[in-house]
């Protein structure tokens, strides 16, 4: 009965794991989710003292990972922009998956934020009494709007499900909505542009934190633009990486080699541009911005754990090297190289977000204060684990019952043909 229902919902022409194995997989992640949900409940019902954050580390693991997943989720808007606005048809192979990933990243980040703030029931205050000068107000507005746009972009994917498409006018609505998708792609691009930037601006405007403060253009500090660049550089890499991961887990082939190549090429170009800008910005900051505010560069890097190596790893090892590998066609043609470079690019963005959140908090500003360390509590890890589990579950169900990779059917058939010829 259940298996018949399950079978009727799976897209035609693709192969999915047996229901029992899928059930085990879902059960496993539901377990992770349950633990995290309990941790979230503790924080919401009892207070944030369940975390290891304190008056110094006001932003901890959660904000760092929020910034990271939102940067990686940029693949959704950037792919949409390339496909619908710049008409890069090759990206049709991954757009659905990118939208689902974006939706997961953004909604997950919102959930964690709701736990992270002290008074989540007052979240509407930001809308009712916004401070137009605050980067955080801009982030709140843009992210909630963009989450709405992502939900709308998810609707056509959902309506194309094998069973849902048969219902009434679902397919007609899908058709009409899809025709207008360019509008959402453009709005999504505008919103993403601003909130990715504002997330960077969030730290760049902290004039009291010379480690994070940057000069900039008009009201926007340079981190505003660097965040946008790094997000759109890492986004396609993240999509390539997740697609590969889904291929490994599901043991299917999902997109063609050309699609991988396109993603890698775009990611590589943007990464090189980002590395260039980031290097210039870093040089200007170390030699100009920070000293002018009484903080010569060495003061940031004289602490053992947070030495200059973070800067080197961030820019050279996780920026320049993967960038070079990805723009060089023969290199990126090798799948392991491509994947390693994509992973490095994502790690580079992660490190960048880590530096800007955790390192900014760790470094003292008062001359007689000291460096402080912080290790998240189990509740913080568990709550984030719940968001990861939520993401895995949403993705798993979407992958099983919706068409996330339009090329999969043909690739499956080609594979079957090949196998039959070998036999």
């Amino acid at each position: 009965m259940v298996s018949a229902l399950d079978r009727a919902w799976i897209p035609r022409g693709v192969v999915r794991a047996p229901l029992t194995r899928f059930g085990l997989w879902v059960g496993l992640w539901l377990g992770v989710f349950a633990v995290g949900a309990y941790a979230m409940y503790l924080c919401l019902a009892d207070g944030l003292f369940h975390t290891n954050m304190d008056n110094r580390y006001v932003f901890g693991l959660w904000i760092f990972l929020d910034l990271t997943v939102i940067a990686l989720g940029a693949g959704a808007f950037f792919t949409g922009f390339l496909l619908y606005v710049l008409r890069k048809k090759e990206l049709k192979a991954v757009i659905n998956s990118a939208v689902v990933l974006g939706l997961i990243c953004y909604s997950g980040a919102m959930v964690i934020l709701a736990v992270d703030v002290g008074q989540p029931l007052r979240a509407w205050f930001t809308y009712w009494y916004p401070n137009a000068h605050s980067m955080l107000a801009e982030v709140t507005f843009c992210i909630t709007c963009y989450l709405l746009v992502l939900c709308i972009e998810y609707v056509p994917i959902l309506l194309k499900n094998r069973r849902l498409r048969g219902i009434g006018g679902y397919l007609v609505f899908e058709h009409e909505l899809h025709k207008l998708m360019v509008v959402f792609a453009l709005i999504g691009t505008l919103l993403s542009f601003f909130h990715q930037g504002s997330l960077g601006g969030l730290f760049g405007v902290l004039r009291g934190r010379p480690f994070a403060f940057r000069e900039g253009f008009a009201i926007w500090p340079s981190t505003f633009f660097l965040f946008i660049l790094s997000a759109i550089a890492a986004g396609p890499s993240f999509i390539a990486l997740t697609t590969w991961l889904v291929e490994k887990i599901s043991r299917r082939r999902l997109i063609s080699a050309e699609a991988y190549d396109t993603l890698a090429r775009i990611s590589g170009k943007m990464l090189m541009l980002y590395v260039l800008m980031k290097s210039l910005d870093t040089l200007f900051w170390l030699n100009q911005t920070a000293p002018a505010r009484g903080f010569p560069a060495h003061r940031f890097y004289e602490f053992g754990n947070f030495g200059g190596w973070t800067l080197f790893i961030e820019i050279v090892i996780l920026g320049l090297l993967p960038g070079l590998a990805l723009i060089h066609a023969p290199l990126r043609a090798k799948r392991p190289v491509l994947l390693a470079a994509a992973l490095a690019a994502c790690a580079g963005v992660t490190l960048n977000r880590f530096v800007l959140t955790i390192q900014t908090m760790a470094l003292p500003t008062l001359p007689f204060d000291r460096l402080m360390s912080y290790w998240p509590s189990w509740q913080e890890f568990a709550a984030f684990g719940a968001v990861v589990a939520y993401g895995v579950l949403v993705y798993s169900f979407s992958f099983r019952y919706l068409t996330l990779f339009p090329q999969e059917r043909e690739l499956t058939r080609a594979e079957l043909m090949q196998r039959s010829q070998e036999a």
Binding site: G13, A132, A137, F173, L180, L416
Partner: protein, 261 residues
């Protein structure tokens, strides 16, 4: 956010910030509304079915959307973009302008149904050999009752077998005047619609070429299955395929053959 809320001020920053936000919100709302409005319009104008079919059609693999003239070799590698509806196709019109001979025998639809004039002004509609091999005999219960209006390319009825469901596409426009259990090869006698046209149906050597390709596809899929009677000449397929092929392959293959993605 609004002028009547405490804390609002008419400073440029505030006005730009809130203005941009409200514009974006309005744009999203208007676009969604537009999509709903257009959908309702499509229904009013009776375009819903056509849109649904086009949408299905575009989801088919490119190899399943080969133009009939590509199958016969007249054109190279052309993928149909008309939803197999040659009645509006300019390419088809151009290529068949010289062909005047009236069609004889069965005309085939790409969803593996056929049409044959019964001689009394009605048309007989049936499942072809491949569909029969895949699904077995349809049975009276599944066939649509008399009075059902058929529309070319739209689902005519649904067949259930072994837990799988397939919808059979109608090859023609018309009204069923008599339904049959398919034991004599046909399942419906149809009174053609006024604007009845058969130019979208395959005929003659097109049908042969197409049929050959479909058999090849079956053969390809069948090769991997042990004990499957794979015949070199591709002429005859023995046995009930749903029994011989593994369920996953059988369902996927049947769905593709019947254009039910």
């Amino acid at each position: 956010m609004f002028p009547w809320v405490y804390g609002f001020s008419w400073t440029p920053g505030h006005v730009i910030f809130v203005g941009v936000f409200l514009t974006v919100a309005a744009a999203v709302a208007v676009t969604v509304f537009l999509a709903v409005f257009r959908s309702v319009q499509d229904f009013r104008r009776g375009k819903a079915r056509q849109i649904a079919w086009q949408s299905h059609f575009h989801d088919l693999p490119a190899s399943d959307r080969a133009c009939r003239h590509a199958l016969t070799g007249e054109l190279k590698g052309r993928v149909c973009d008309n939803g197999f509806d040659c009645r509006q196709c300019s390419v088809h019109a151009r290529l068949t302008a010289i062909e005047t001979a009236p069609p004889a025998g069965r005309l085939y639809h790409r969803g593996h149904t056929w049409v044959r004039p019964a001689g009394d002004g009605t048309l007989l509609v049936g499942l072809d050999e491949i569909a029969t091999k895949l699904l077995g005999s349809v049975g009276q219960a599944a066939a649509p009752p008399a009075g059902t209006v058929l529309e070319a390319n739209a689902p005519a009825f649904t067949v259930r077998k072994k837990g799988a469901e397939f919808r059979i596409l109608s090859p023609v426009d018309g009204v069923i005047v008599e339904s049959h259990d398919g034991s004599q090869g046909w399942f419906a006698r149809v009174k053609p619609a006024e604007n009845y046209s058969d130019v979208h149906l395959l005929r003659g050597h097109e049908a042969t070429a197409w049929f050959q390709r479909e058999v090849d596809r079956l053969q390809m899929a069948a090769c991997q299955v042990n004990g499957m009677p794979a015949l070199a000449d591709g002429g005859v397929l023995e046995g009930d395929l749903s029994e011989v092929l593994p369920p996953g392959v059988w369902e996927s293959l049947s769905a593709e053959m019947l254009l039910d993605s």
